[in-house]
Symmetry: C2
Subunit: 412 residues, 2 copies
C-alpha cells in the first residue's frame, strides 16, 4: 500500500539567511507519518511572490497535497495569499467567512480589528478559509490540478494547532491514507552508537520493524518503527528483544528524560538525595529540578567551587585538599560523606573534576573526573577520563552521575 506524497513549502527569507531554523517541516513530517501519509519534498523560498508562485507550480505537479506555512500575516512581506491567487489564476477578494473569523478573534478579546488586520481576509477567490485557533490570520484551502493546497501560518504554535485542527482532517477527507507509522523512542546512555547498533538483534526483530538512530549528546536516541497491522503488538515484541539486548543502557522512553527517570525511581523507593557538585557547577541539580516534584527526594545540593565551601559545608580536612588536591579520589569520597552527613539523606552523590579548557595538568588532564556515591549500605568512587569540550565534559559527567543514581535505585 502506497502513501500519498505530500509536499511542504515554507516561506520566509529568515529561513534562508540563517536567522531561523525550520522546525515546521519536521513536525509536519512526523504528524503525517503517524496518519499514513508521507512528506516527499520540502521547499523553502524567500518572501517573493514570484518564487512562491513557481514553487507552488513545481510542488503541485509532484504531490497530492501541499502544506504551505508562513506569509499570512498583515505586513508587507506576507505575500503568500497573493502568490496563491496568481498560482490559481483567480483574483484576491475579501473572503466574508475569513473576515468573520478575524472579527470574532478580536471581539473575543474585546478589541476592534483594524484595517491592516482585516487585510488578512483577502484570499484567492473560491478559497476555503481555515480557522486559526491561536492567532488572527486565518489559513485557507484551495484545489488546483487535482492537488490540495493548505495555507497556514508559520509561527510554530499557530502552525501546530492548525495542522491538527484543519490540515490533517482536510487531508484525510481528500486523500486515502496509507498505513500509519507507529513509533517508539528510547534514550540510551553508556554505549556509543556503533556499539549499540551491533547489539540490536536485527535478525530477530519482527518483519517490517525499522530501527532509526539519533543523537542528543551524550544520549543516543533509538527509534522503533512499524507500518501495518497489529503494530503495537509487533512493537511490544521488538521492545522486548531490545530490552533483552540493551536494557541496561535504556535510561528513558519517549517523553521522559534521564533525570526524570531518576526522580521517579527515587520518589518511588522513598529515597532522599543530596548532591555535592564541583566541576558540574549545579548541572546535576538543575537537571533533577527541571521536573516538578523534585522536592519529594532532593534535600539539598552544594556547588562547592572554592575550597572554603568544601571545608565548612562538606567538613573536608584542609590537609586532604593540600595533599591530594580537590580533584582526587580522596576528595570525592570526603565530599560525598560530608554532604550525606550534612543533609542526612539516604543517598548522596559527589563530583569533582577538571571540565576545562583551563586547569588541566600532566597527571590530571582536562576531562579528569571523580564520581562518588554514598548510602548506608554502599560507598563507591571512580575516576573517569572524559573527552570533548567543557560543555561535553560537564554533560557527560552529569549523566554519568544520574546513571549511578538510577542504577543504585533500581537495585534498592
Amino acid at each position: 500500500m502506497t502513501h500519498p506524497d505530500i509536499a511542504v513549502l515554507t516561506t520566509g527569507s529568515e529561513l534562508l539567511n540563517g536567522d531561523l531554523t525550520d522546525t515546521n517541516t519536521g513536525t509536519i513530517g512526523r504528524t503525517l507519518n503517524s496518519h499514513g501519509y508521507r512528506v516527499r519534498y520540502s521547499l523553502s523560498v524567500a518572501d517573493s511572490e514570484e518564487d512562491i508562485c513557481q514553487a507552488l507550480n513545481y510542488l503541485a505537479q509532484r504531490a497530492r497535497a501541499v502544506i504551505v506555512t508562513g506569509g499570512l500575516g498583515s505586513t508587507g512581506d506576507d505575500l503568500t495569499a497573493r502568490a496563491a491567487a496568481k498560482f490559481v489564476g483567480r483574483p484576491l477578494v475579501i473572503n466574508d467567512e475569513a473576515l468573520r473569523m478575524i472579527r470574532d478573534h478580536f471581539s473575543r478579546r474585546n478589541r476592534p480589528a483594524d484595517m491592516t488586520t482585516e487585510r488578512q481576509a483577502l484570499l484567492p477567490q473560491k478559497a476555503v478559509p481555515l480557522p486559526n485557533p491561536r492567532g488572527t490570520a486565518p489559513g485557507f484551502w484551495i484545489q488546483q490540478q487535482g492537488c490540495h493546497l493548505f495555507f497556514i501560518p508559520g509561527v510554530p504554535h499557530e502552525m501546530n494547532a492548525m495542522l491538527e485542527s484543519a490540515v490533517i482532517p482536510g487531508i484525510i477527507r481528500a486523500l486515502p491514507a496509507g498505513l500509519p507509522e507507529h513509533q517508539r523512542q528510547y534514550s540510551l546512555f553508556g554505549l556509543p552508537e556503533p556499539k549499540i547498533e551491533q547489539r540490536v538483534p536485527y535478525n530477530r526483530l519482527p518483519e517490517g520493524i525499522e530501527v532509526a538512530f539519533g543523537l542528543n549528546y551524550p544520549l543516543v536516541q533509538l527509534k522503533l518503527r512499524f507500518r501495518g497491522d497489529a503494530a503495537e503488538q509487533r512493537l511490544d515484541q521488538a521492545e522486548m528483544l531490545l530490552f533483552k539486548a540493551l536494557g541496561d543502557y535504556i535510561v528513558a522512553r519517549e517523553g521522559e528524560t534521564h533525570a526524570g527517570q531518576v526522580g521517579k525511581l527515587l520518589t518511588g523507593k522513598g529515597l532522599t538525595l543530596s548532591l555535592a557538585e564541583s566541576c558540574t557547577g549545579g548541572l546535576i541539580a538543575r537537571m533533577l529540578t527541571s521536573q516538578s516534584g523534585a522536592s519529594a527526594f532532593l534535600e539539598r545540593a552544594a556547588v562547592t567551587y572554592a575550597d572554603s565551601a568544601k571545608l565548612d559545608w562538606l567538613n573536608i580536612a584542609p590537609e586532604l585538599l593540600q595533599r591530594q588536591g580537590a580533584v582526587s579520589e580522596a576528595c570525592a569520597l570526603a565530599m560525598v560523606r560530608g554532604i550525606r552527613e550534612a543533609a542526612d539523606t539516604d543517598l548522596a552523590l559527589a563530583v569533582t573534576g577538571i571540565a576545562g579548557p583551563d586547569g588541566g595538568t600532566a597527571e590530571k588532564p582536562v576531562g579528569t573526573v571523580f564520581l562518588a556515591l554514598a548510602a548506608e549500605d554502599a560507598e563507591q568512587v571512580q575516576k573517569y577520563q572524559f573527552s570533548g569540550d567543557r560543555n561535553q565534559v560537564q554533560l557527560m559527567t552529569a549523566h554519568m552521575g544520574l546513571e549511578w543514581l538510577r542504577r543504585y535505585s533500581l537495585e534498592h
Copy 2:
C-alpha cells in the same frame, strides 16, 4: 548591485520525517551572505535517485550555483553521485583523484581503505573531486547548463569544513559576488520584542541598515545588517544609536551569553559571589559555570530545596519559615544574608519561588518569585509574578537574577 542566487539541496529522508532538523541550510545562508551571495531556494528531498535528479533540474534552471549536501557516504541510501550522473547524462566512473584522497585519508590513520569506502570514488565523469578534511567521502563539483553544482557531505562538521575550504572559494572563482552582508547581533533582556521595536530609532539609523529580530527565551536577539561601502563605520553609527535607545537592555553581544557577561564583569571588578537557589534548583550556578573561569568569582552556591538546608546552611530562623513560609520576602532576605555570611563574599544572590506546575496557592500562585541581593553597601529584595510553564518561570527567574548581578557590577 545584485547578488547571484544560490540554491541549497539537502537530501535524506530523516530531514522529512522529523528525525533530523536541517541546520545546514542556515549555515550556508549565513556564510554566503557574508561573502556577497544569497540563498534563494532550499529544497529537501528523500533518498531517491529520481527525486534528487528532478530537484537538481529544477534548481539548476533557477540558480547560478547549487550546493547539495548529503548522500555521499558508502551505504545503500547514498544516491547523490548516481543522481548527479543521471542529471548530467554522464556515467559514474572511478575518479582517480578522489580515490587517492580516500586512500590518503586512511593512510594518514594507518588503516587500509576497504572496497565499500572506495566506492565513494565513483563520481560522474568529468566531475572535479573536492577534498574532505574531516571525513572519508570526497565532495565534487560539476558544471551543467551554466550552473555550478557543489556536492558535499551532510554531516554538519564535515559540511562546515568543506563549505569554507572548497565551496566558497569555488563560488568566488565562478561567480561575481554582490556586496557582502555585515552583521552584528545583540541579546536584550527586560523588554518584550514589540516594546524593543518601538524604541529602535529606525528613522535615525544610517541608510541601508537592516534590523532583524529573533527570540531565545527570555532573551530577544536583535541584528543590525548592512551591505555596502564603509559597512563597519555605518554599523558603528547604528550601534551607537541602538545603545542610546536600548543600552540598558543589551545584556550581551554576538558570541557572548548573559551569564558570560556577568562573569566577565564580576571578574573584572574583583567581586566574589555566592548563590542561594531554591526554585531555580541550581540553574543560575549552572549558567555561570558553563563558561570557564567561574572559579575566579563564584565561591559557592546552595540549592536549598528542603527547609532543613535553609536552616543550617543559611541560618534561617525556623519561626520565619513557619510564619512567612519559604516563598516570602522575609525568607529571600534571610537566605541572601545567610549565604553571604556563610560564604563571606562581596555579593550574594538568593531566589525563592513557585516554579509550578504544582505548589501554587491563591495568594502565592505559580510564578510567584522573590529575588534578593546583598552586598556590603546594598540590600534589595523584590517580588515578581512570572508567567509560563515551569521551564519558562525558571529561565525568567535565572536571567532576572543574572540581570541584578550585571547591573550591580556595572554600578560598582
